[in-house]
């Protein structure tokens, strides 16, 4: 495990009863790196992200964020990352601005106006969240994850449902956050997003890492072919 890694996952295994959700998962994400986590449905992406964000305990293995063990110090780890779950929960009877104020007070720092501008929520920030569409709720969750500019961002299918201008703005913001030293781990099914944004792709199949490549090294065959090939060989194996 590298002491410098923003995210470090080592020998990760998670078993529910007789079901092995993930096993032999090892990867690291460096500060300033944008990594994408891809895999088929049920590959173990969400389980991995839940363990990384201390929503779930690993059966075996060590997981840390900016060197903080997420099992031993869940509060410390949470301060180091911003996290958008696949189905974000929000307070329906607050406005987005009020919700972000709460998050800033919890985290002790943050720029609410910048977060609202980044997600394009500005005009709707003073409406109640219960009136929001799914896309607007996701924007609010993204703004909450990013408002205090944590050194690590962990996003589970977080770009789904965003309108194209908002998605473009968020992607640009994520890229600039990486350029300023933040590490981003994005779980997604959209391979085009991975090819355009990510530095690295980590591929999971049936709970195991089947590929961990730099996007620039994937070559002419493309990510989709690599993905299908790895899934097929994982099934044969």
């Amino acid at each position: 495990m590298s002491a410098d890694a923003a995210i470090s996952v080592s020998g990760l295994k998670k078993v529910y009863g007789r079901v092995e959700a993930v096993s032999q998962v090892d990867f690291q994400v460096a500060p300033g790196e944008f990594a994408a986590l891809i895999g088929h449905n049920g590959a173990g992406k969400s389980t991995t992200l839940k363990i990384l964000t201390s929503q779930l305990l690993p059966t075996e293995g060590a997981v840390s964020v900016t060197g903080i063990d997420v099992v031993a110090d869940p509060a410390g780890a949470r301060a180091a990352f911003g996290y958008v779950p696949e189905e974000p929960a929000l307070y329906d009877y607050l406005t987005a601005r009020e919700f972000l104020e709460l998050v800033v007070e919890i985290r002790g720092t943050g720029d609410i106006d910048a977060a609202l501008a980044m997600t394009g929520l500005g005009d709707d920030a003073d409406r109640l969240i219960r009136e929001y569409s799914q896309g607007m709720r996701r924007k609010t969750a993204l703004a909450a994850a990013m408002v205090s500019r944590p050194p690590v961002l962990i996003l589970d299918e977080a770009l789904n449902g965003l309108d194209p201008p908002s998605a473009a703005r968020v992607k640009a913001w994520l890229r600039s956050a990486c350029d300023e030293g933040a590490a981003v781990l994005l779980s997604t099914h959209v391979l085009e997003t991975v090819e355009r944004l990510a530095d690295r792709v980590i591929m999971l199949a049936h709970g195991k890492v089947v590929a961990d490549e730099r996007v620039a090294d994937i070559g002419q065959s493309g990510l989709e072919n690599l993905f299908l090939e790895k899934i097929a060989s994982s099934l044969e194996g």
């Binding site: 007789r18 410390g76 301060a79 996290y83 109640l128 994850a145």
Partner: protein, 455 residues
């Protein structure tokens, strides 16, 4: 612990309450169930206040009634504090953030208390006829015991549930929980028993307070000391809570995820398709058959503990009826009837979780849906009747017919009231509680009148 004004969670909660009020306006809706409970108290006065007709039984009667009503408040708050701390709406919202449990817990406590402040008033309102019969002090003492039960159920719940997380993860207790877990995952066992532990511990304080009420009635000063026992226990219970919260608040999230994951892993597709009572739809009219099946599925999959709770109510009623005492059948019917009113609230819960968009995009005639919901609730309530009927049949023979007729009538009434109230979605809970309380009081009146017939 900081002053409430500096607490970000309290600030956000105040804002949310202001928005909610601005949207729904000022409401006196809570007066409706309070008035209904008061009416129920009048209708059931011969059952609840029978001690007034017996010489020298006032102090003992006040003690007994205060204890029972205080335990209801304590038990209700034990469940509400579980909801606030363990499975409440705050946890998923705040889980991604580094909350300080020392700030979060006072907010959760105040919120759970503020949202249920009317419980002790509502429950003790059942005893208001004491004032009519010239015993205002007795009534005031019962109100005090109910508030004691409410407070101790609320404050004892938080440290108990946090300690339950420790217990669930403790290797030295693993064998104990393995033995008592039933078909549930072992990690869940401590949480399942925790509300019972709150009720048992809080019950001691309620018992002391109720005994104190009795002593005050006969002019013994010691009674005042016993009366404040819930207050003392609540203060003591809160002492270790901040430390427990820092150690186990976050572990609660991981434990719940573990339990949910184990359930998902155990579920086989065939089992997921099976639904309790699905065979019963063939006895319903053809026009509502498919809707009834949907309601049965919805309840079984989304509100299973409510659906199976009817059997719990029936078992408690059966325990109350396991006696050769001539009043045992009436007692069993009253206990089961109270449980049926609680369980029948599932009808309103069913509609409050219905997605709005589904109603708009796939409109089903509301009469058909409500009738189907009524059939489903009536079917589920049979679980409360069967154990009581079995026990009364064994112990009292012929009295069982009267009990069955009364409880089936009660089930029908609750099914109709529940289905009708569910038209109003979550807001239907107020009329449901009010009408349910009246239905129970009616049952109490009938058992009081027909006690001789039953035995």
């Amino acid at each position: 612990m900081e002053l409430p004004l500096a607490n970000p969670h309290l600030k956000a909660w105040r804002r949310a309450r202001a928005h909610r009020r601005a949207e729904s306006g000022f409401s006196l809706g809570w007066l409706f169930p309070l008035a209904a409970v008061a009416a129920a108290g009048w209708m059931a006065r011969t059952v609840l206040l029978g001690f007034l007709a017996v010489d020298d039984a006032l102090a003992a009667g006040v003690t007994g009634l205060a204890m029972r009503l205080g335990l209801v408040c304590c038990g209700a708050m034990a469940i509400f504090s579980y909801g606030a701390l363990v499975r409440g709406e705050d946890r998923p919202v705040l889980d991604p953030h580094p909350v300080d449990p020392g700030k979060l817990l006072p907010y959760l406590l105040l919120r759970a208390g503020a949202e249920r402040w009317a419980w002790p008033l509502g429950v003790s309102a059942l005893a208001w006829p004491l004032v009519f019969y010239g015993q205002p002090v007795a009534f005031a003492l019962i109100v005090a015991v109910c508030f004691g039960g409410w407070l101790v159920g609320l404050t004892l719940g938080f440290p108990t549930y946090l300690a339950a997380i420790w217990a669930a993860e403790s290797p030295s207790l693993a064998l104990v929980f393995e033995l008592i877990r039933g078909t549930n995952p072992r990690l869940q066992a401590a949480l399942i028993y925790a509300p019972g532990a709150v009720l048992a511990l809080g019950g001691v304080a309620v018992y002391a307070a109720a005994s104190g009420a009795g002593l005050v009635m006969v002019g013994q000063p010691l009674g005042v000391v016993l009366l404040v026992a819930p207050l003392i226990l609540s203060a003591l219970a809160w002492l270790p809570t901040p430390a427990l919260a820092r150690a186990y608040y976050f572990r609660t999230t991981t434990l719940l995820a573990e339990v949910d994951g184990m359930y998902a892993g155990m579920e086989d597709p065939e089992e997921a398709r099976r639904v309790y009572l699905d065979w019963a739809v063939k006895f319903t009219p053809a026009s509502v058959r498919s809707e009834t099946l949907k309601e049965l599925r919805h309840g079984w999959r989304g509100l299973r503990s409510w659906v199976t709770g009817a059997w719990g109510a029936g078992l408690v009623g059966a325990v109350a009826g396991w006696s050769a005492d001539p009043v045992a059948p009436a007692r069993a019917a009253l206990v089961a009837g109270a449980g049926m009113v609680l369980v029948g609230a599932v009808a309103v819960r069913l509609s409050s979780t219905d997605p709005m968009w589904l109603d708009r995009s796939l409109p089903v005639p509301s009469n058909r849906r409500l009738m189907a919901r009524g059939f489903a609730v009536f079917g589920w309530l049979q679980g409360a009747i069967v154990p009581v009927a079995a026990v009364v049949g064994v112990r009292q023979g012929g009295a069982v017919l009267g009990v069955i007729v009364m409880l089936e009538g009660m089930a029908l009434l609750i099914a109709i009231v529940g289905a009708a109230s569910s038209r109003m979605r979550a807001k239907g809970m107020l009329p449901y509680v009010a009408l349910g309380a009246l239905a129970w009081a009616g049952l109490a009146g009938v058992t009081g009148i027909s006690g001789g017939l039953l035995s």
